[in-house]
Amino acid sequence: MSGIATTLRAIARTPAGLLGLVGVGGFIALAYLVPLIVPLQNAVDVANLYRPPSFAHPFGTDFQGRDVLNQIVYGGRDILNIAFLAAFFSTAIAVAFGSLAATVGGRADAAILAVADVVLTVPHLIVLIVVAAIFRPDGVLFIALLLASLQWAGLLRQIRAQTLSLKEREYVEAARALDLGLFHVIFREMLPNMASYVAIHFIFAMTAAVYAQVGLIVLGLVPLSGANWGVMLYLAQSQGAIYFSDSFWYVLSPILAIVLFQLSLVALASGLEDVFNPRLRTA
């Protein structure tokens, strides 16, 4: 636990890392904590359609006169959940099979690499669109698994390469000589030395998941219900609100939320890179 605290303090010392920590922390609080305090405002108010920002509605109102800020607050949870789960699944697949391929070698290694190559080759967004069109995924878990099934390959290749080089280190050889077992060698000896690497890629997997899921939602291919930054954009796009000058704030708000979330993640990843790879700073 103190290790994590030390790392966080080190990240906060770099300007990008501090921005990233504050941003990501802010979005987590916005999506998970603020809804506990602020009540959902779902009442239609026909007298106040597409109002510009005011004291009562800091980001204006939508096509039914509902508060936009309230929708931003309630619309983050699904996006963050899916991003987190997709990153978790894809990282888990990459770490498990990447380290396995490198330690076992031979046919298993070749087979795993071949699958990874195919997954890296197919154009992800097109596959997602076709698969989503056929199966109509709804539900956070299904979408996260779908995104993860395409995202793991790049990280797997890097984990495999890292494992191959770590395999030759003396402490790993010692563990093998002591016959501590494959599980121990992978999870207790090698993985801790790749932790920083995995953490950075986890964050990038989250940004990729946000990109893909919001893209699918904007296209109307994943029927997520309720307020959600992507659904707001989908409605704006399908109702022509993006061509309508009064609806400027309604369309801009989810865009700002997504862009700021993405930038916070990238800043956090770059802060992590600075901490774990100090040589990059001078390079």
């Binding site: 190559d117 195919v118 154009p123 669109i129 993006i242 000058s245 930038l263």
Partner: protein
């Protein structure tokens, strides 16, 4: 050439089995085999998606056609088989083989909406527009990114370096479709600086296609927004890659030696640093070219530009599975071919790779 001749002679001294082994180990052949295998797997997966998985479109379509008694089961099967260029009566392995054979011949079946229109002709009609718009954006971003990246590396730590690097990483982390929506929102609607509704489509309705100045100007006018978005979302990547590649090259011994020999800065920058730094980026560019075909779905949709991506979404909206399947295959094959080209290009550009492999 002398080196290759010597290798050939060495090969001739080996036995036939070892010769075959050496042949399969040849990097060009290996890359070709890998590409063929990847295309085969992608084709198989597409087949599985359409034919095998529960709730697949072939079964769904047969259900639809027979539901209200309009057709007998046999009639429905026949019609669906014709649409997908699949024979449904023969066992699955045979269906699969004939499907692969049809794909190899370029026969991707027919559109659900009009059984006389082949999927191939539908794709060919929209493909040039996507290639043009996305390709132009990619090339522009590459050229500008390389220049800016080289400049940033030379002025490391300067205000210019920081502005270019930070700007590049910020722009490339914003989803491209959000940039497109923002352009419509701000430039088109709020500022009225760009006539977005007139810019829809690939060219204006009444204009005669041909190599006239009017037509080319009109095509550029309609492609301007997609090109700009593509440029913006890719330029950051090229800036950052070129910057770090240049920084790595600047410390190479041969550059230090060139400086010691008193060569001019201009000559060192172009012939000694730039050429080596740009090398890995050229093969990255070749890979990116493969993604041109499938890389613009949302942007084409937002700007209403008639390319492959927009066509895919039209097919999705009307559940036109043969067209979806065809576009999925085409985009995958494009990436595989581009990867192969990148591999070959790289072995040519950097002879060390070919020899060590």
């Amino acid at each position: 050439m002398a080196v290759i001749a010597a290798e050939d002679r060495a090969l001739a001294r080996l036995g036939p089995r070892a010769q075959l082994g050496a042949f399969v180990q040849h990097p060009v052949l290996r890359a070709g085999l890998k590409a063929a295998l990847t295309i085969l797997i992608a084709t198989t997966l597409t087949f599985a998606l359409v034919r095998l998985l529960p709730g697949n479109p072939v079964d769904l379509r047969i259900d639809e056609l027979t539901k209200d008694g309009a057709m007998t089961y046999e009639q429905a099967r026949e019609q669906v088989a014709a649409l997908y260029a699949i024979e449904l009566d023969v066992p699955l392995p045979q269906q699969y083989l004939s499907y692969v054979w049809n794909v190899l011949r370029g026969d991707l079946g027919h559109s659900f909406l009009s059984s006389t229109t082949s999927v191939t002709s539908i794709i060919l009609a929209v493909l040039p527009w996507t290639l043009f718009a996305v390709g132009t954006g990619l090339l522009l971003s590459f050229v500008v990114g390389i220049g800016l990246g080289l400049l940033a590396a030379y002025r490391r730590g300067s205000l210019l370096d920081r502005a270019v690097s930070t700007g590049g990483s910020i722009v490339s982390s914003i989803p491209n479709y959000l940039i497109a929506i923002l352009m419509v929102l701000v430039l088109g609607v709020q500022l009225r600086a760009v006539p977005i509704t007139q810019m829809r489509g690939a060219y204006s309705p009444g204009i005669q296609p041909g190599f006239t100045l009017d037509f080319v100007g009109d095509v550029l006018f309609h492609a301007a927004l997609p090109i700009t978005v593509f440029f913006l979302t890719h330029v950051g990547h090229w800036i950052l890659s070129m910057r770090s590649a240049t920084l790595a090259t600047l410390e190479d011994d041969h550059v230090v030696a060139a400086r010691a020999r008193g060569l001019t800065d201009m000559r060192i920058t172009t012939a000694y640093v730039g050429r080596n730094a740009v090398l890995p980026l050229v093969s990255q560019l070749a890979i990116s070219v493969g993604f041109i075909v499938g890389g613009a779905v949302l942007i084409e949709q937002i700007f209403v530009y008639q390319g492959v991506g927009k066509r895919l979404l039209t097919a999705v909206a009307s559940r036109d599975y043969p067209v979806m399947q065809g576009i999925l295959l085409l985009t995958t094959v494009a990436v595989v071919v581009a990867n192969l080209a990148a591999d070959l290009l790289y072995t040519r550009l950097d002879p060390r790779i070919g020899r060590s492999a």
